[in-house]
Every structure is written in C-alpha cells, then in structure tokens.
C-alpha cells in the first residue's frame, strides 16, 4: 500500500543526481523519499528490506519502449510490458506515438493513462505524434497534447514530407518549449534496406541501410534546430558519425540530446550473419567501430540516456524470410544485465550506468524524477549485480520473446522496485522483515 513506511537497508545507495554512492538506508513514507544514508532517529518502518550486496537506486526511466497497446495486443499490452518494465527496474516508460490509433489526440493520451492506471505497473508517459496520424504533413494539436500530459512529441521514425514541415513543427513546438524526439533516418537513402550497409549485407545480399541515412537526417535536423531554437532529442542513435555531429552541436550550445539502445552497445552487423531475424532491428546494428564510438559517447555523457527501444513481437513476426520479418527486439529485461556488462568491461562505472538510466533521461524529458532527493516520489529500483539468471519461460515477463539472448545466462537481477511508494517484487519475494509500531 502507498502510505507504507519502508526501510531499505544495508544496500549500496547510488543516486547520481546528488553524487550519492554510500552503503546505507533509504527511508520512504507517504510515497516519497524521506531520508537517504542514515536512518533518522524516530523513523519506524512498517516493513524493512535488508539488501546487503545490492544496489539501491532511482527507478529506471526508458525513453522508448513499445508496449503495443492500444492496437497490437497480440504483441503485448500495457499490463504485460508494464510488468516486464518493473521486472527490469524501469518505473517509468515513454511510449512512442505509433500505437493504433496513433497518439495524436488528447483522447488517446487519456486512454493510455487510464490503461496504465488500471494495470498498475510502471508509470507510462505517452509521446505525442508530431503529425496527425503520423502522416508527415499535418501538425497534430501539439499544445493540446502537451496539456493532456505529453512531455514530448515525435514522429516515431515515420519520415516527414519535407524539411519545410520539419521547420514548421520545430518552430511551433519551440513556442511551447515542447521537446521534439527525432528518430533520424533519411527515407530515400534508406530505400528498401533492412540491415547495415556493410560487409554482412554485401555477403548475404541483403539491401543495406547506409550509415549516411542516419547522419544526413541528423545534419538536416541540426540546421533547423539552430534556426528555430527547439529542444530536440535524437534517438536511438546507431552510428559514430551521427553521434559526432550531435556532440559538436552540444559543444556549440544547441539544445540537443541523444540516446542509444542498450543492444547497440553490444551487438554489431556480424550478429545478423546466418540471416538471424532476431537481430533485425531498426536502426540496424552497425559496425564494431560504430559500437565502440557509441560506448565512448555514453561514457563521455554526450549520449545522456540509454533506452531499451523495446519492441515485443508475436512469433509470426520473425518467422519469415529475413527481409520480410518485422524489425525490433524485446529488450526491457536485458537492459540491466547488458549495462552491467559495460561496467564489467570498464566502459562505465556503476554510478554512470545508473545515471544514464535515471537522471539522464529525466533531465532530457524535463521530468522531476530519476533521483532520490528528500521529497522525491518514491520510485526506486533495487538490484543484485551478481545474481545470475537464465532467460527462459520461467524468468521472462514480456509477451515478446524476440531476443537473441534467449536461453543465455545473465548477471544482474532486479529484486525489488518501489513505484510511487508501492512495493513490487517482480522476480520473486525477497525476505522482508515486518516491523510494526508497538
């Protein structure tokens, strides 16, 4: 229950927003954080969770996860994917606007909020459609979308009809200080491509998506950001050269940010070999050099957020000849273990990883979350960095099983999440010590 007083003790508390990295306690009452570090005298919890050896941090925030509802319940629902999010440590997920119907009116925003409330899983933040029905030509009622609760708008990778439409959209959004999410890809350069244009595409005879398709789109958008002053967030980014342009724009002081999907930091075009449809993603997996450049950008902070780019599918979506399969991977539940691999490989420290999953995305969205300051809403994640688990029917929550990691052993498991002060133990109960006031 929400009003419960909780004590999470003995863990390593990591709150990058406040530079906190201590072994200690987090105290929660009335759905907010009341103390971090030492337990205040007089705080008597209803329940205590002792988590030595585990990490206690703000709940993760995902800038892009398809929950498939409304419209594609055969692939996933707000309930099924919301549970997967919690099991993965995400207490907030942003939903791209390409649902059916498209998130282009306050009515659809309201519907999603209602469903999320009924499901009572992670917080769901709908991203509004930049254009009506994502048609690329006519602006949605952006101000109305903002008023109904959209923190950002975007076109979900559907190309805009022209740079004139982009300019107008940027100008209009800038007038309301509305963040525009851009999934950059030039449609003409992409053509009928389905994998990165490189050695594997050439060998397998698969139509390629050149890296230039992403870089050109970023370059065009950056020129219009400079013209209009709009806040733009690019993601997920897949290539080194696009990332260099964004980093240079940040240096120049333009209001732009970027994310990449966690799997882009681990997989490359080589994983597509053998026509592996589970590695058919868009943007495509690129070269080892791109992957390494993205890793460096995450470490440097020019990539301020790591997202899941979760796209659950029904089995039939991948049971086709490669070019006919639907792109996308079910990724929510592999984000943390793959992130911890980056820590093991020395790419990121634990606080850096936590920052890219919490305060990083929160700042991009302008959301007062992703930290454990006193008075902050009690959205927390507790995970065991060494706990091993095997991806399979018994451990997986998403309705989509389209992951190339199926059957693999993973290190790092969420043991406890707190959403708005409510305790959830999605991966099996942790021993809690019930304490009642005398």
């Amino acid at each position: 229950m929400t009003g419960e007083r909780l004590l999470i003790s003995g863990g390593r508390v990591v709150d990058p927003a406040h530079g906190v990295d201590v072994v200690g306690s987090v105290c929660i009452a009335d759905g907010v954080v009341v103390a971090v570090g030492d337990r205040p005298a007089g705080f008597v919890p209803d329940r205590e969770f002792q988590v030595p050896g585990q990490i206690v941090c703000p709940g993760f925030i995902d800038l892009s996860a398809r929950l498939r509802e409304p419209g594609q319940a055969h692939k996933g629902t707000i309930d099924s994917e919301g549970l997967a999010a919690l099991a993965a440590g995400f207490t907030t997920v942003c939903v791209p606007p390409d649902t059916v119907p498209v998130i282009d009116s306050p009515a659809v925003v309201k519907l999603i909020f209602e469903r999320a409330q009924q499901a009572d899983r992670a917080h769901v933040l709908p991203i509004g459609a930049l254009t009506r029905g994502l048609n690329g030509r006519d602006l949605s009622e952006l101000s109305a979308l903002q008023s109904s609760g959209c923190l950002a708008v975007g076109n979900a990778g559907v190309p805009l009809a022209s740079n004139l439409v982009m300019r107008r959209a940027f100008e209009y959004a800038a007038g309301y200080d509305l963040l525009v999410c851009v999934r950059p890809q030039d449609a003409a350069l992409r053509d009928d491509g389905c994998v990165h244009e490189g050695v594997v595409a050439t060998r397998l005879g698969l139509p390629g998506i050149p890296e230039a398709a992403e870089t050109v789109a970023v370059a065009e958008a950056l020129v219009l950001v400079e013209l209009t002053g709009v806040r733009v967030h690019f993601g997920p980014i897949s290539s080194a050269r696009a990332m260099r342009l964004i980093a240079a724009a940040q240096q120049q002081g333009l209001p732009v940010s970027a994310d990449t999907a966690m799997h882009q930091l681990h997989l490359t075009e080589l994983d597509v070999d053998g026509f592996n449809a589970l590695c058919h993603v868009d943007p495509p997996l690129r070269t080892t050099a791109d992957r390494d450049a993205l890793r460096a950008a995450v470490a440097a902070g020019t990539i301020g957020a790591l997202c899941s780019d979760h796209q659950p599918h029904d089995p039939d979506a991948k049971l086709q000849v490669f070019p006919a399969t639907e792109p996308g991977m079910a990724t929510l539940e592999t984000v943390l273990p793959l992130g911890l691999r980056l820590v093991a490989e020395g790419v990121l420290s634990v606080p850096e990883l936590v920052a890219r999953l919490t305060v990083g995305p929160a700042r991009i969205l302008g959301l007062p979350a992703g930290h454990l300051g006193v008075g902050a809403a009690a959205d927390l994640c507790v995970f065991h960095p060494q706990r091993s688990w095997v991806i399979g029917d018994a451990t997986w929550h998403s309705a989509g099983r389209n992951t190339p990691y199926w059957g693999d052993e993973m290190l790092g498991r969420v043991t406890l999440v707190v959403v708005g002060g409510r305790v959830v133990e999605p991966n099996g109960a942790l021993t809690s010590v019930e304490q009642r006031q005398p």
């Binding site: 050439t202 060998r203 005879g205 390629g208 070999d273 039939d316 049971l319 086709q320 190339p404």
Partner: protein
C-alpha cells in the same frame, strides 16, 4: 547468443551435403566432387535413354516464388533424368498470393511426403529459412534467393570453366556488370576463390558495386577496357532495365559504351578467352550479338551443363538426407 553462419546449415555431421544453399561454408573437395559427379552424368545425358534410377520413387518439388524458365526447366529435366517425380509449383499464382504464410505453404507441401524442395524466391535468405524449418528427411536446393546466392549456377559455371580445360590456380576472371543486385556474382566469386582463383576482377560502375566489395577478395574496376586485359574468362551479368529509373546508370547507351562486351573489347582478353553469361541476355545492352553468338561464347554450353551439374547436386544432397534419416532411425 547464437549466430549460425549461413553456410553451416547445409552440411551434416560427416561434412556431406544436406542442403545446397550457398557456396559459402563449403570446401574445394566438395565442389570438385560435385563436378566429378556431373562429369559422370554428362555421358548419361548424351545417351539415347537419358535416365538413371538414382532418385526413383523420390518426389522433387520445384517451388518458384519468382518466375524463371531456364533454371526451372533444367531443374525439372535434371530431376526427371534421375527418375524422380517432379511437381512444379508456381507460387506467384498460388496460396501465398491468398495470404498463406511461407511456412504454412512449406508445411502443407511437406505433408504430401516430398523429399526435396528446389526453391527460388525474391528475398535473400529464403532457401536458408526454409531449410531451417523443413522435416529432417527433406533437402533444400537454392535455385536463387534475392541478391544472396545462386549456387547451382555458380557450379555449372565452374564446370564450364573446367571443361574448357583451364586450371583454376592460374585463372584470371572478369565479372562484369550489375554485381550489386546479382546473386550469381556472389556465388561465382565464392566458388572461384574456393577453387583457388586469385585474380578475380569485379568490373562495374560504382553504383552497381556493393559496399566493401573488396572484402570478397576481388579487385574493383570501373573501366572494362582495363579490367578485361589478359583475362581467361569473362562473365557478363544481365542489366535489368529498371536500374535506369533507380539512378544507377544514366542510359543503356552510356552503359553499353562503357561496359558492353564487343569484339573489339574482347580482343583485349586472352585470345582463347571464353565468354559466359547466366542469361537471359540483353543483346546490345551488356553484350553485342556478335560476341554472344561468336566462337568464344560458351553461353549455350552453360545451359547444357546445367542439367548434369544439377543432377549431381540433387543426387548428392538426396543421398546425404536419406543417410541422416537412416542413421537417426538406427540410433533410436
């Protein structure tokens, strides 16, 4: 995470052919064995009674999702000369056009107790996908998938080269034309390299070369006059008319002027060089009629050798498939 290379599916535990999907992942002894077997079948095809009973009682299904005359016909003849029953299914007018999934189509035909699929499909990876999902006793032969592979064409081209009395180790080969969209070029290059050819030249305008083509182990040439210099074999590729609208080349005229094979250009190759083409040819677009019909052209021999080479591949794959099933039964 498991990533299975495209070629590894096609050999059984003993290194014998289970399916024939791509040249990649095979080996020189196996390619030689295919050619030796084809050699033994060439005499069969020259007899009055042109049949051998190797595949008697077996059912071969020609599953063509893309139209083809030459390839389908030679596969059909090859199967019939091995005494197999042959079923031709043209999917463009069949169930998938009504919305049935590829896998359902395969499972339905498989339920009719067939032994081999010969598959042509517009998407790269189709034969590989089908091979992953067929029953253990069924063999899959790739008759061309998207831009990926056309391994039987490559093998009949290797056979044609070998029959012309040339040594692969010292061979110089120019492959000319639309390499980007060509499954023939990909399989051909892999087969030539596997058989030890060191000088392979890809000759094409930059727009018709795939990304990082040099990784294939070929040299890249944008000038046919230079690229053809001193070669033993010229492989011409078909230029599809729709490439003009895709801005790949400015015009047929300019293409022919730069890349068309004329007698004058052919004179720069070795005097006894042979000219090959997988067909169908576009006279006056990529090849001059005088060359196509000339003494150095082996285009019709390629078609002729298509039958014994396909007989060889079908009989080798079928035998291995049957061994696998027999072995499995003994084991249980």
């Amino acid at each position: 995470m498991k990533s299975v290379p495209a070629g590894s599916l096609q050999l059984d535990g003993a290194g014998k052919l289970r399916h024939f999907l791509t040249i990649e992942g095979l080996n020189a002894p196996l390619l030689t064995r295919i050619m030796d077997t084809a050699e033994s079948f060439s005499s069969v095809t020259e007899q009055t009674v042109k049949k051998v009973p190797l595949l008697r009682g077996k059912t071969v299904v020609n599953l063509f999702f893309e139209t083809s005359t030459r390839t389908r016909t030679t596969f059909e003849l090859a199967a019939k000369r091995l005494s197999a029953d042959v079923l031709n299914i043209n999917i463009a007018t069949s169930a998938t056009a009504k919305g049935e999934s590829l896998l359902d189509t395969i499972r339905n035909i498989e339920a009719m107790q067939v032994d081999m699929f010969v598959v042509r499909h517009a998407h790269s990876g189709a034969a590989h996908f089908i091979a992953q999902h067929v029953a253990p006793h069924v063999s899959v032969i790739n008759a061309g998938d998207g831009r990926h592979a056309h391994p039987t064409q490559a093998m009949l081209d290797m056979f044609t080269i070998r029959r012309s009395g040339r040594d692969f180790a010292t061979l110089k080969v120019a492959i000319v034309g639309d390499i980007l969209h060509s499954r023939v070029a990909r399989s051909e290059i892999q087969a030539l390299r596997m058989l030890g050819v060191r000088d392979i030249r890809a000759v094409a305008p930059r727009t018709l070369l795939p990304a990082q083509a040099e990784d294939f182990g070929v040299s890249l040439w944008t000038d046919l006059d230079a690229g053809i210099e001193g070669v033993d074999v010229v492989v011409m590729l078909r230029l599809q008319r729709e490439r003009m609208s895709g801005a790949f080349i400015p015009s047929e005229g300019e293409y022919f002027a730069r890349f068309g094979l004329t007698e004058r250009r052919l004179a720069r190759a070795k005097p006894d060089a042979i000219v090959m083409h997988p067909g169908p040819i576009n006279r006056g677009v990529e090849i001059d009629s005088q060359v196509a019909d000339g003494l150095q052209s082996v285009i019709l021999q390629q078609v002729h050798y298509g039958i014994p080479v396909r007989m060889a591949i079908m009989s080798l794959a079928m035998r291995s498939g049957q061994d696998a099933v027999a072995g499995g039964r003994q084991g249980t």
